[in-house]
Symmetry: C3
Subunit: 422 residues, 3 copies
């Protein structure tokens, strides 16, 4: 089976699960991930103080429905888990339609879609439904039932740590709290799972830390429990919405961190780029001023800005298998830049070395690929002055990082470069 | 009466006065301003050395005319005070038209307008008239009469100082030397008068100094007599041409002073902006290299670049009452930025604080204004790291300074910010 | 005779000579230059080590041809010296067309032009010819003859040093190794010869060094033999392709050196400008990281990017006499900027000095040229604060360097400026 199809199938397996920021939905999701990569599962008890926040009680749900005056189920959690306001407290009562209406959420301008709504930090209950369904409800007495529990328990997250040569690490974070929504964010979960599996096979200069966490409270919890590790974070990305559309990169708060430049070098002008804004996904927390980590967010469709966002239309059809595989490839290319970006010193800095007698320069004429190889050699030699990294040289030359990295390897082999360490 | 009309009426009262860089025209003008704001009147004797310049003799004029060979007054100062070359020495003689022509100034391409001309620093006399009048003059002997005096006296200027919490001051300077010209610069005089009256009513972090001075020699004189005060000038603006058209901002010589950024934050892209050039109004002197004060020039029509500039068409009709009031509002908004621009420290810098439990975050859905308020809170929290001022945050977020200032106030109230002093 | 024609005639005299990186062609060319300017001729023995390179054996050629099976000369060095692969070893043999083909170079998409090809550092022989000629060659046995020598001898270059007040020098380098090609680079040779002759007549703040050298190996040789002089190089330009088209400037590796800004100030937006790239002419060597000299390249048609480049179409018709003279004028203007660019201090820094009483300001009205002169005075006064050079002021004002230089001279004369030396 092709990688793209394998990823999509993985995602299809996770789609039906009703996830939230706590509860068994997250546990089942992490269990599926752990079948593919080493994953440490953390349970953080309800009530734990994490900076300004408190880990909430754990929410689980078995069933929920609305029956109309004739006893017919008009809204049914079993049909779609978006139907229940996420984190609804248990309830079983009868009430007239006029009163029920205050608990119903629809999208009047998208009458066939069910919205996704939550109420994590204020006790409430409610239902989400299609506007079209709402309009057809007859007056009368309705029976409503939500078979949920909201009790002391724990917040669950998964962590995959892959040690490398150095303690300095690359942080990759994705949220696992959304119920049956595919692009946001089963796509991110799939891409991070495959990325971790691939990185695990490779030699690693950096250590890698993959976090599969509930949004907001998850990153806050991780940061609160790992303040001592934060100084090791050399680079980071928040992954989400990777199943559809062109790439979108939101820079880290620092704006010109190596991660920002690495992503731009990989995209080479082909994606949208925006400066850091203090809203979006978990980069909000990683980039809060007390941490200010070099963490950007590489997505395809950006946060909140696609029509199916947070609706039942964000389903399995929305996510293209090829987009998943392309996202994986792009993340891998960014990791290649970070791994390969070093600083060298030209050992023959006065005038050009004679490349011809080292077999690195054609004598007469030649193909375009050969010419590009030679230009990459010249750029790498000229700017390997100890000041410029290979990424600097790729940026300055407009050539791909891979071409410059290849040139550096060829020059290292003939002894014209030496790594500059400090 | 509406403010706009009140301002225009004030300006109408000043219009007939024949002002110059010295003399009773300036004194009468300052007397009218003093009816509205506290104003100290300074008299600086002729002959006083002010840096490279000398305060000139005082000029006053009562009448001036040209009679044609038939004895008819063809040019009459009583009809329009632009008719006389400003600073003309007294003269009464007869001379043929051919000789008189050398003393006559017209605008051949605007044949119905009287030009405004001066000869402050070289003794001369002359008349300004419509090209159409000139063309109709018959040959023959003309009688000319200028009943002026150019004698030792003094240069007069007005100063309104409003002390604030700090010795650091905002300098606001406008020229009062132009005769019957409305936009240039009765508009500036009116806006500065109303601005001073309004600022006088408010609490002031800064002290304010309003200068009503003759152009060039006035600012040179003030600077020469107040070198010890110059280091207190934290921000400044030269006001002129505020009765018509869109806004125009000419930056201070420093180019990125707080005043420059404050004006840009208020204009938010709606006006023309130009870099400092060493010609224009009194910013030439404030921004001379020996002072290099952070003084820009906020006008509507810029210096010299509108068709009615320095002609009889710069009259009461040219100046719109609404433009005057709008100019006042814009100057006040700039002062609000300067007064309100401080640096804060987020007291919960690690991850976001939970705004919901402090009543600062809506729980579900919401109006756009509410959303904008939340974004302003997030921007202000994220960038209140002690490095960024509120103006920095407004610039970076693209939100209005007022929105960011409001957010800071809300956050101060719940104890999430602390002012960073130093 | 007009200068433009004189230059073109000089170039016509050099056109027939078969030059290479060594040999009598270069010697004859330098002899012609020495008739016009003082020129020291250097001979560097074959085998001399120059950094990573070795001075090659000397190449000379007397004749070369190909005879077809009927004995007819189908390719003849006497007709055009591009016909022989430059640096071909001697050969005299018979071989069938199929084998000969491997030694023949054409331009299939420019079938009427002879290409220019070299093989300096790998022993080879070959011929260059028109594609059209190649297509008409009958099968059979061909006789080929190259009467060349490749023997120990020397590499020859010329150096014209014009001492100035200071040891700091301006390096001007042009390549003399191309055979019958006019724009590349007899044009550069002519412009540098005339420039040296003109500079020789003038007072010089800087010393000037003109190098007439074979490309690549020549600059490497000069640098290797003159490492002690390199620190004196304050500014430099590599001259080539100066006979045709608009100007093209390639910046020095430093990117914002004074030479870069001087050239831009002279071009004032009228030419193409590109950042440094590590390929092109001898700036590759001067800007290698071990030297990183402030050397740009001012050409008209840029390196490699015009259709006649390195073909027989780069002939006498391609080069316009007016373009040669214009190139000379532009180089002289750049030298004027470098010579005239100094830093001054306004001796009346507080407010403007009164220019009127010094005869530098008109009293009433005036022509546009007069106004421009006044603006230049104001710019020069305002920014002569010891921080800004005249070139800074020209850049900031958008006025020509010459206008600012004239203003500075006028202000020096009336004692308002003093040179700032440090």
């Amino acid at each position: 089976m092709r990688v793209s199809e394998e990823m999509h199938r993985f995602l299809a397996g996770l789609y039906p699960i009703c996830r939230s920021i706590t509860g068994d939905g997250v546990r089942r999701t992490l269990a599926a991930i752990r079948e593919r990569i080493p994953l440490e599962i953390h349970e953080v008890p309800s009530g734990t103080q994490v900076f300004d926040w408190t880990v909430p009680r754990e929410w689980n749900i078995r069933d929920a429905w609305i029956k109309d005056p004739t006893g017919r189920k008009v809204v049914d959690f079993q049909e779609h888990n978006l139907h229940v306001l996420n984190y609804s407290v248990p309830v079983h009562e009868k009430l007239p339609l006029e009163e029920l209406r205050k608990r119903l959420f629809t999208l009047p301008d998208k009458p066939d879609l069910i919205p996704y709504r939550t109420s994590y930090y204020k006790e409430a209950w409610g239902f989400c439904l299609r506007q079209r369904t709402l309009e057809e409800l007859p007056d009368g007495e309705y029976e409503i039932f939500i078979d949920s529990t909201l009790e002391d328990g724990s917040l669950t997250y998964g962590e995959c740590f892959l040690p490398g040569e150095s303690e300095r690490e690359i942080l990759l974070s994705t949220h696992v709290c959304h119920p049956s929504l595919c692009n946001d964010n089963l796509s991110g979960i799939a891409v991070m799972t495959w990325l971790a599996a691939e990185i695990q096979k490779r030699p690693r200069r950096y250590s890698y830390r993959f976090l599969f966490i509930p949004g907001t409270i998850g990153s806050i919890t991780w940061l609160a429990r790992n303040e001592d590790k934060v100084s090791n974070v050399a680079h980071g990305l928040v992954a989400a919405n990777l199943g559809k559309g062109g790439f979108h990169y939101k820079k880290s708060r620092r704006g010109n961190a190596e991660i920002d430049r690495a992503v731009l070098a990989v995209l080479q002008g082909s994606g949208d780029v925006e400066e850091f804004v203090p809203f979006g996904y978990d980069e909000r927390q990683y980039c809060s001023p007390g941490f200010n980590l070099p963490v950007g967010s590489l997505t395809r469709t950006p946060y909140g800005r696609y029509p199916e966002y947070h609706t039942s239309a964000d389903n399995l059809d929305l996510v293209a298998p090829e987009a998943l595989e392309g996202s994986l490839a792009t993340y891998l290319a960014v990791m290649d830049v970070l791994e390969g970006n070093r600083r060298y010193e030209n050992l023959n800095p006065k005038c050009e070395p004679q490349l011809g007698r080292r077999g690195l320069y054609r004598n007469i004429g030649g193909d375009d690929a050969g010419r590009a190889r030679e230009l990459a050699l010249l750029w790498t030699l000229n700017f390997s002055d100890g000041e410029h990294s290979l990424l600097d040289i790729a940026e300055r030359s407009g050539m791909s990082f891979a071409a410059i990295r290849d040139a550096a390897d060829a020059l290292l082999e003939v002894g014209l470069l030496r790594e500059r360490t400090t």
